[in-house]
């Protein structure tokens, strides 16, 4: 027998057996797929946000700029002039509060006589990133300064949020993953039971073990592929929305903005979901065949 032809035929026939098993599974297939999709969607969301926060965090930590908010009784230009004389300050940009309010009102419907709540703002840039911390401490203590907006502060918040998301998302994913493993194992068990006679005949006629187990494994792979493909759709939509929102929000801190959304990021997440899905269904198949398939 030609070996490569034989292997091709075996592969094709195993796929055919797997498709028959899936057909026989009926609605129970969709129970596995729906729960696995939920697991992968949650896990994918956690990954997505973590990756995004990592990029933002990286950008923030590279920044050498911070914003200073002044009280209304301070002469902004005078303050800016004096600030520029401090060591390590490279540039000071004045954002007049009236101009800022005018720009703000363009995007929202606000009554003309509504008082301007915005403070005067200075965008300050230091010579080197290592001087950022000490400069901020100095500027904080200057009279007339209401608040500062700077990367380390935001970065700390982002890191805390990222850790919280990772932990809670991971716990939820693991719990749902365990449920999916059990349900997959039960579904495969039903298939084994329905094919009991066939499996016994194959076994006694000298068919290799992997031809008997192979279709069951392929069934698990099918679940993983379908679930990952369904899960990635809302993740893709969410990623474009979240990234745009992040760009708008981070704009005041990162004048250069964030990198453009890359489709390759979502492809990476899809491949990870495929692998995770196959690990989950593979574990379920393994448990079921070990317990119920006596070869």
């Amino acid at each position: 027998m030609n070996i490569s032809g034989q292997n091709f035929r075996l592969g094709y026939r195993m796929l055919y057996e797997a498709s028959q098993d899936i057909w026989r599974g009926g609605w129970s297939n969709w129970i596995v797929i729906s729960i696995l999709t939920s697991v992968l969607a949650i896990f994918g969301f956690v990954l997505q946000v973590s990756f995004g926060l990592k990029v933002i965090g990286q950008k923030l930590s590279d920044q050498m700029e911070f914003s200073v908010y002044l009280s209304n009784d301070v002469d902004v230009r005078d303050f800016a002039l004096n600030l520029g004389k401090l060591p390590y300050i490279k540039r000071v940009e004045v954002i007049d509060r009236d101009i800022a309010w005018f720009e703000f009102k363009k995007n929202f419907t606000i009554a003309d006589d509504f008082p301007n709540p915005l403070p005067s703002t200075l965008h300050v840039r230091v010579n080197k990133a290592e001087f950022l911390g000490s400069t901020i401490e100095k500027v904080k203590s200057l009279p007339g300064v209401i608040d500062l907006n700077y990367a380390p502060g935001v970065l700390g918040f982002i890191n805390k949020f990222k850790n919280f998301l990772l932990i809670s998302g991971s716990v939820l994913s693991v719990l749902l993953g365990l449920v999916t493993i059990v349900i997959t194992a039960n579904t495969i068990q039903l298939v084994i039971h329905s094919r009991q006679n066939e499996i016994e005949v194959l076994r006694l006629m000298g068919v290799d073990d992997w031809y008997i187990k192979g279709p069951l494994v392929l069934q698990g792979v099918f679940y993983a592929v379908v679930a990952a493909t369904i899960a990635i759709i809302p993740l893709y939509i969410l990623q474009t929305f979240l990234w745009e929102t992040a760009q708008n929000l981070i704009g005041s801190i990162l004048p250069t903005g964030l990198p453009q959304f890359q489709a390759s990021n979502i492809c990476q997440i899809y491949y990870i979901l495929l692998v995770v899905g196959m690990v989950v269904t593979g574990t379920g198949c393994y448990m079921s065949t070990r317990k119920y398939l006596k070869i």
Partner: protein, 226 residues
Amino acid sequence: MIQFINVTKIYGELRALDNISFSIASGEMVFLVGPSGAGKSTILRLLYREEKPTSGQVFVSNVDVSRLPNGQTPILRRRMGIIFQDFKLLPNKTSFENIAYPLFAIGMDNAEIKRRVHGALKVVSLSNKANDFPKNLSGGEQQRVGTARAIVQGPSLIIADEPTGNLDPNTSMEIFQLLEKINQKGTTVLIATHNQQMVDQMKKRVITMSNGKITSDIKSGSYHAV
């Protein structure tokens, strides 16, 4: 072809086989007879390695099957054909598909499968029943399909465990004559049976068992009810 050397098989407190030894040469047709619980099925299960002996050795074609790694068991079983009392046909497959099923699973090409299956159907005289499902076949016809499946891979040994247990006397005779015809082509045939009448008529070698021991082994023997 087959050799049992001091084989004992114990299930819990039950001694199913008690230090038995015998050999079967290539091309022989042998009946294994005895009452229920004598150990006949245990001998067959040891041969196709469904069980391992508690002690002793079992050889098939000079291979010690008692020490065979699990991964080699399928290869051993491809060299033998097994016929069952309850036929073990798949109800949702035709006669052709039932016979072809093991050949599909070892990757044989479709043309070769077709040739072999039609050849096997011809041997068992069921060429006109290739497209029938088991439910449309009589008991004798189903067992002939089971026999065709056992011979389709061209094995050197056929093992039949009570092949006529569910059949009437006339049909039983047909099955035994079919097995004799297969044996005449050179295949070794070992049949475990209660069917005293058929054993006496066939005048083949008869190994009689009782309580896990061999009580007689006669070349052209008859059934001795113990």
